[in-house]
Amino acid sequence: MKPLLTVKDLTVVLDGKTVVSSLSFQLERGDNLAIIGPNGSGKTVLVRALLGIVPHRGQIVWVPGAKLGYVPQKIDADRHLPLSFGDLLQAKERVLHLPPTEVRSVSEIIGLSKEVLETPVGRLSGGQFQKALIAYALLGSPDVLIMDEPTASLDQLTEERVYELMRRLQEKLGLSFIVVSHDLSMVYRYANKVLCLNQQGLCFGPPHEVLTPQALQALYGEHHQLYQHHHLP
């Protein structure tokens, strides 16, 4: 079976500065990839290159017919905009010529109430906003959800809920995930592959194999360790 994604010698140069350099890796269907790295290491730029939003050199080859959903790191949404996520979801539904029941179906899967869908975007809580963004990304039945720090600025409980939602989506819909995250414990719990990025790919593979103290030190430049808690049943 063809790999879901093949990245070969990917290089991204923005404003004359090399942000991602000679990166190569491969993903299979059903993989959950976590991309980790310090601030400014090129994680968001890599995500944008995978989506085709920024120019790049090298190869990015998705399996034919792969559909991508995207949840960006932050959106500069005007708090006073007279728009609700209901408006946005319906607009996307029409733009992509999706069946009219798609919005309701996705809202039920995510657990978005009618009230949340009708609330102006500027009045939503952080957790509601994030769930609504995931619903937006799910419209059109993507094969892969690409999420850039989906739990940034969320409290721990809400963060857990978002990751649980992602796990349920994978079980129910068979989605693959590519997630940029700073939370190494969540990476270890939910990802089956991790890519360590600091302009170049410094490690790639299952977290329990590649997240060694040496790899983390090379990545972050400080003494980092991952403590695994094993609880008795």
Binding site: H80, D87, A91
Partner: protein, 235 residues
């Protein structure tokens, strides 16, 4: 695209040099205005992409240059009408063309509305959805400038943009929901024009300033009423 809306008032000034050149050449002023508005829209779109400057800066440069150039080119006896509206009476042909342009704008808005909504919220998400945000920005600019052209006849280059900005500001006082917002904006705009032109005709006032004064009055009224009702949330 969002910031284009904020710069809406300034965009109308771009029509002035076209008006002036048309008057000097003895052709219909709105033909000249249409040409400079369209060229201005494309110029702003190109400059944004090539210079990386934000919309408001680019519009600021283009409109001030246009205003200066228009002031130099427009015959002095026509300058007041060019700035504030109120050329000679509307001919049947002008009415039909304005009506046709309005219908074309409404059809274009209907076709592009969803793409505008997505791009307005987040151009990055619009791109990830597969939309061409550069094309959306250009189409929006062109529709925007043609809307300004429709109002130019009786509002003038200084005030035409006001009917884009003020009715929306009034509507925002009353609702946070998209459909009511669009409906209220349209009603305020139509009401301001009707009432303002009636006032201008009866009191022998300039049309453009009368219309905009009515719209501004609606905004003040909304502030006062919403201020009294400030304990109630905006629906």
């Amino acid at each position: 695209m969002r910031r284009m809306s904020l710069a809406g008032d300034a965009v109308s000034h771009i029509a002035l040099p076209g008006l002036g050149i048309a008057l000097l050449l003895g052709i219909h002023p709105l033909v000249g205005a249409a040409i400079t508005l369209l060229l201005g829209a494309v110029l702003i779109w190109r400059l944004e992409r090539q210079t990386g400057l934000d919309t408001q800066t680019v519009v600021g440069v283009v409109f001030t240059a246009s205003l200066a150039l228009g002031g130099l080119l427009t015959p002095s006896e026509d300058l007041i009408a060019a700035l504030f509206g109120g050329f000679r009476g509307l001919s049947t042909l002008e009415f039909v063309l304005a009506l046709g342009l309005t219908v074309a704008i409404l059809i274009a808005l209907r076709h592009w509305k969803d793409q505008f909504i997505l791009n307005l919220f987040s151009s990055e998400l619009a791109s990830a959805t597969g939309l061409n945000r550069s094309r959306i920005d250009l189409v929006f600019s062109l529709i925007f400038t043609m809307t300004i052209l429709v109002g130019l006849r009786f509002l003038g280059t200084l005030l035409a943009g006001a009917l884009v900005v003020i009715p929306a500001a009034v509507a925002r006082q009353w609702t946070s929901r998209l459909s009511p917002f669009l409906g209220i904006s349209a009603l305020i705009s139509i009401g301001s024009v009707a009432f303002g032109m009636a006032l201008a005709a009866n009191l022998r006032l300039s049309q453009g300033p009368a219309v905009v004064a009515v719209a501004a009055g609606a905004f003040v009224f909304s502030l006062l009423v919403r201020g009294r009702l400030q304990t109630l949330p905006t629906p």
